[in-house]
């Protein structure tokens, strides 16, 4: 795996009329599993579309996999996969035909395309449905098909826009496991754009937050969590008041959350002091989750700063 940057932008701007959708975005992103977050209408989707050349850039430069996005469109797109949020299949085709066709559009010879199509459909867990017309597919099957067409040509980077949208919990888990394996097991960089912070936390190691057309945060998830170390969400079977009183004695701020958990700011590097406190009051924790909602808090904080600066 080369250490080459997968995404490089310099002062990237995109203007719609008199509205700046992207304002001076400069990023250098290494390969990995990247979470792309941002409020609706913030420029997150526009950013992806500019990189994929679905929208022309107004000014600045962008490089994808080391090549200029405007100049070498076809070459780049041979090695890039994309799953849009909305349905985008060609009606009247069977699933395997569609994926074969998509592979051919990326330059694979027909025999290889057909072979890869079926391999990818196996990978995403599609069985005999692949021979039926796509119009008859359920949401889960359509999402799998989208993923299959995005990776059939063995791309180096895949852009996924809400891949688990509309799926039931089982379907969500299956798609997310597949997406997770793309980077961890097969070295394909994944850029996941989603509003489900829970999913992003599970899969991604790097986080980019875009709001109001600017990059607010670009850091690894580990760093973001480390910054929020010192707080933990404690799940106890009862006796919350005793826990709160004990925390008050040690002057640790604590708060009872709506779901019945207790959030404690223990301000230490590990959970051992908190365990000591629990041992003292003879209260066994069912769970202790460190820096809970780290991503959500980073997100909210970043937005607040951006609003204040605006």
């Amino acid at each position: 795996m080369s250490a080459q940057l997968v995404i490089e932008t310099q002062a990237l701007c995109k203007v719609f009329g008199n509205q700046k959708a992207l304002d001076d975005v400069s990023l250098a992103v290494a390969p990995g599993a990247i979470g792309l977050l941002g409020p609706n209408g913030a420029g997150k989707t526009t950013f992806m579309k500019c990189l994929l050349q679905l929208q022309p850039i107004s000014s600045g430069s962008a490089k994808l996999l080391g090549r200029e996005v405007g100049a070498e469109g076809r070459e780049i797109r041979k090695r890039v996969g994309y799953t849009p949020e909305l349905d985008c299949h060609i009606p009247g085709m069977a699933g395997c035909e569609y994926v074969t066709y998509c592979a051919q559009l990326c330059g694979l010879p027909f025999q290889a395309a057909r072979q890869r199509a079926h391999e990818m459909l196996d990978f995403v867990g599609m069985g005999q449905e692949r021979y039926r017309k796509i119009d008859t597919y359920s949401t889960g099957m359509k999402q799998r098909l989208k993923l299959a067409q995005a990776i059939v040509h063995d791309p180096e980077i895949v852009f996924l826009d809400e891949p688990a949208n509309g799926l039931d919990p089982k379907g969500q888990r299956q798609i997310l496991e597949l997406v997770q394996s793309l980077w961890r097991a097969y070295g394909i960089t994944v850029v996941l754009s989603s509003h489900m912070l829970h999913d992003v936390e599970q899969i991604c190691e790097q986080i980019i937050i875009i709001a109001r057309g600017r990059v607010l945060v670009h850091d690894s998830l580990a760093n973001l969590k480390a910054r929020r170390r010192g707080s933990a969400e404690v799940v106890v079977p009862g006796r919350h008041e005793e826990l709160e009183a004990a925390c008050a004695r040690r002057q640790w701020p604590c708060e009872l959350l709506p779901n019945g958990h207790v959030k404690v700011e223990h301000r230490s590097e590990s959970l051992n002091p908190l365990l000591n406190l629990l041992h003292e009051i003879q209260l066994a924790p069912l769970e202790i989750i460190p820096s809970p909602n780290a991503l959500e808090e980073t997100f909210v904080q970043a937005l607040e700063i951006s609003h204040a600066a605006a």
Partner: protein, 308 residues
């Protein structure tokens, strides 16, 4: 406490196709989550509750009365559907105003109420003058919620209420719903996002293949599952040392080690006798603990076990 919704041997068939098959349950006041795979019968149930469908057999009552053909009862129910069902060529205030009049609200109050409702769902004022056809998914969702809340219903039924909302929006709406529930309204949320339901709802109703698999609070359901072995994962500096210590203490049913990630996953059979000694065991092992997570407590896990 009187249940808000009661179903007794409720069935709904579409010819040979089964929508709901002989379900009986009670939904208590407060926040309840409705979960189930696609095709489980959630939409059918919601349509019966909101008076859009009649049962084929059995009964369903809301506040003690049948919703079908019952405008007086429907006045107390608010519904926010999943689909983008807002008319594209109207402005939000016009639409809400029209609906308010249909609900029989006092004409003088209507403009003020509609504006207040749009503020409550945090639809920015600059968008109020646009027609709803130009709205994004998230904005349409907020207007739908506003129409559901407009007549201060006692029961609010929401089908995928967070669809299309960004994390900030989800937080805002979750807060709004928690507020309403605290104020005495009952809320039934159907959603696929288990993480959100877990934090928001105390009670859960799990459907699959037109049948009820579980109903009650998350705690009750968890307690009722047979062969429930507590599964915990502990993140620490020296998982092997901790494993050895716990093994020597004789409480382990089985364990998995991931030394690279610093994770130790353990399975414990007898929870009541395990927990009282738990903190002592952890501290006694001498390792630095960073996280304790339960693999088996989450709603995701309950759902998996129940629908397996």
């Amino acid at each position: 406490m009187n249940p808000v919704i009661q179903a007794r041997e409720l069935s709904r068939w579409y010819g040979m196709v089964m929508g709901l098959n002989n379900v009986s349950f009670d939904i208590a006041p407060g926040l309840t989550g409705l979960v189930g795979p696609n095709g489980a019968g959630k939409s059918t149930l919601i349509q019966i509750i909101t008076g859009q469908l009649q049962p084929s057999a059995g009964s369903l009552t809301v506040f003690g009365r049948t919703p079908w053909n019952n405008p007086a009862l429907l006045q107390r129910i608010g519904f926010c559907p999943e689909h983008d069902a807002v008319p594209g060529d109207l402005r939000p205030l016009d639409w809400l105003g029209g609906l308010a009049r249909l609900s029989g609200l006092d004409a003088g109050e209507i403009p003020g109420r509609c504006e207040a409702m749009l503020d409550t769902v945090k639809l920015p004022r600059e968008h109020w003058s646009k027609t709803m056809g130009q709205y994004s998914k998230g904005m349409k969702q907020r207007v739908k919620l506003a129409q559901g809340l407009l007549h201060q219903p006692d029961l609010l039924v929401l089908d995928e209420p967070m669809n299309g909302l960004d994390p900030m929006g989800r937080q805002e709406i979750a807060g709004l719903l928690a507020e309403r529930a605290a104020g005495g309204a009952s809320i039934l949320i159907s959603s696929h996002i288990l993480a959100e339901l877990e934090s928001l709802c105390r009670n859960i109703l799990i459907l699959n293949w037109g049948r009820i698999l579980a109903s009650g609070s998350q705690k009750e359901i968890r307690g009722d599952l047979k062969n429930w072995s507590e599964e915990l994962s502990i993140q620490c500096d020296d998982p092997e040392k901790l494993a050895r210590h716990l093994f020597d203490a004789g409480i382990l049913l089985g364990f998995d080690l991931e030394p690279a990630a610093g994770l130790l996953c353990i399975r414990v059979k007898d929870a009541p006798s395990f927990y009282p000694a738990w903190t002592g065991l952890l501290l006694g092992s001498g390792v630095t603990v960073h996280a304790i997570r339960s693999q088996s407590r989450s709603l995701q896990n309950i759902f998996q076990k129940v629908t397996a």
